[in-house]
Symmetry: none
Subunit: 201 residues, 4 copies
């Protein structure tokens, strides 16, 4: 688990109890009252931790939530491999939809993303620690599919990822509901068709 700030003191004497209490309190507050009610003061009060302790280890409340969410997401991060790339992508996108819709992690992740728009450092952390590692799994799986001939060897994989993830973030950014499974299936199908069909002359 990587802290988004490098300026913290040596973690040797760090109290694991306080760390856990802080992350838990942050997630709970976010789930119960929405991201707007997540303040350092409220986290400190709920966790029975002093504000100073929070500021010692995290630069912003976004960083706290990022730690909390990352810890949860990473632990459920196996990428499926049934041999059929279409099916696996569908499963993967479905998992991302579930993340957004999740009662406990949804509000937290949405909150983090809202902070990303103002906080460059947090943006970098979210990409480096959360998104890029998971997208790397997608690339890996897609490259395997190319070797098995399920995808053309010259397919534009980064664009494919953008087309797959994009609609989800589009809906997220505009406050719209996530797509249902059927819609996800159609989406994946269209992206695969785009990758497989030849360029127009």
């Amino acid at each position: 688990m990587i802290t988004s700030s490098g300026s913290a003191p040596s973690p040797r004497r760090r109290s694991e109890k306080s760390r856990r209490a802080t992350l838990t309190a942050a997630l709970e507050l976010c789930a119960e009252n929405g991201y707007g009610k997540v303040t350092i003061e409220a986290i400190a009060a709920r966790a029975g931790v002093s504000k100073k302790t929070i500021y010692r280890w995290w630069p912003t409340k976004g960083a706290v939530l990022l730690d909390a969410v990352t810890e949860l997401v990473v632990s459920h991060s196996e990428f499926p491999d049934t041999g059929d790339i279409d099916v696996d992508l569908r499963t993967h996108i479905g998992m991302l939809v579930n993340l957004f819709n999740s009662t406990v992690m949804g509000p937290a992740y949405r909150g983090i993303l809202s902070q990303v728009l103002h906080d460059e450092q947090l943006a970098r952390a979210v990409n480096d620690e959360l998104v890029i590692p998971r997208v790397a799994l997608v690339y890996e799986r897609m490259r395997g599919a190319q070797e098995q001939g399920q995808l053309p060897p010259d397919a534009d994989l980064p664009l494919a990822v953008e087309m797959l993830y994009g609609p989800l973030y589009y809906r997220h950014a505009l406050g719209r509901p996530m797509p249902d499974p059927e819609h996800v299936e159609t989406l994946v199908a269209h992206v695969m068709r785009a990758l497989r069909s030849p360029e127009r002359s």
Copy 2:
């Protein structure tokens, strides 16, 4: 121009001068210091307007900026029609990229979108006043293309829009730079290929 709040008093006596000064000040502050420095106090001070007057007509600073941005966007809103749907979509997406990158409107629109994640009412307003009307133009143009045989009659237009807009909002949400024109071209090409290629058996 519709105010995002329906709870404002009757606009009969409203001072157009104050309204203009407020919108201008909000945009300027956003462009100069970033969305974080846009506060109702700062807008009021810069515009020479009382806070009370702002609160009378707008519920949040996001609503102020939405009005300001909408006014600008709508006035530049002709959808291109060269007869070639691919070219026109490329132009349209390019315009959206330019909106995000614009010095004056970019920070404002990004700021609004950040607020959307916490403010349901603002989310509705952004969709109703800004996004949906403009997407409607895309649909209209696409339907025209269908009639001319440039697109199959059963093309999934809403999905197409999500695939076109999605990557932009994906990058936006994660704090990444907008795609360059070449990338836009490739994107549009892929989407069109997806629409035109037959379903797999």
Copy 3:
């Protein structure tokens, strides 16, 4: 009825209805919610009168209340004359106690007096229109008593008035309850004794 401000427009076209509604509303508000809740806005709203109209005829809310109170007090202003100066003063002081304790006029008069401490113009008006005329009646009655030999001819009448009124205003200024009738009787007796006893050698 004298308006405390001389800068009002010609009173020829003045609406008596608005004037009455304003004074009544001011008194009611004061009696119901205390002087603190008496604001020009509240008076205007309650009276169904525009703020502008109030400002046209009165400079402050204190002036409004002074008009209202004066109108009431002056109409009950007969000074008693039983032939016994002690009895008459007791009655008179008792009436002043009743003014302070009155449900309708007490809060108003106390409110006016609180404003007097900040508003020199109002102070002058209170003295000129309310206090001095009534004290004049006391002097007149006392001079009559001197002629009848009930008071020594060299009695210090202004000091006597201060000693009679003083304790009431002392209690008023410190937020204490008004004296009961027995206490008033003792007070008057002491003052009369002071006036009648010879100076010490």
Copy 4:
């Protein structure tokens, strides 16, 4: 020095520097610009103290000024004892006149008294912390005079105090100037005569 509000947090960690700066700033503002210009905002700005800190320890600006005034008054609070009660009371009343006329404390005390008329809690505090303790000194001195035969043993001491203080507060309440020393002398003489002369049969 007692704070007029009992609802303050434990004073263990209280910053004496902030407390002093606040009281000083309040007195200065009051002396310079009058009580009307004393606002919590202005005190905070002048004292270099946050508004929150002021609100943490005092409920109103009146309470702040009361603390400031009390601190000054109490420290100059010896009751004179020359052996002659008439002389001592004259001195004492003269000191009270000086308080009202004082450049630095006069406006503050007058301001407090104006607030007393709207604020029951402050009224209690003014009486308990300022007036009653000082009046107690008067009683004490008077009782001593009774023992020495300078005053009759059955003299109505509370009434005497009201007759002594009353005229001062009467003038204060009606915005009139304090009496000059000669007038004070006459006043004291009259009160003493009243106490010493026998009741009328």
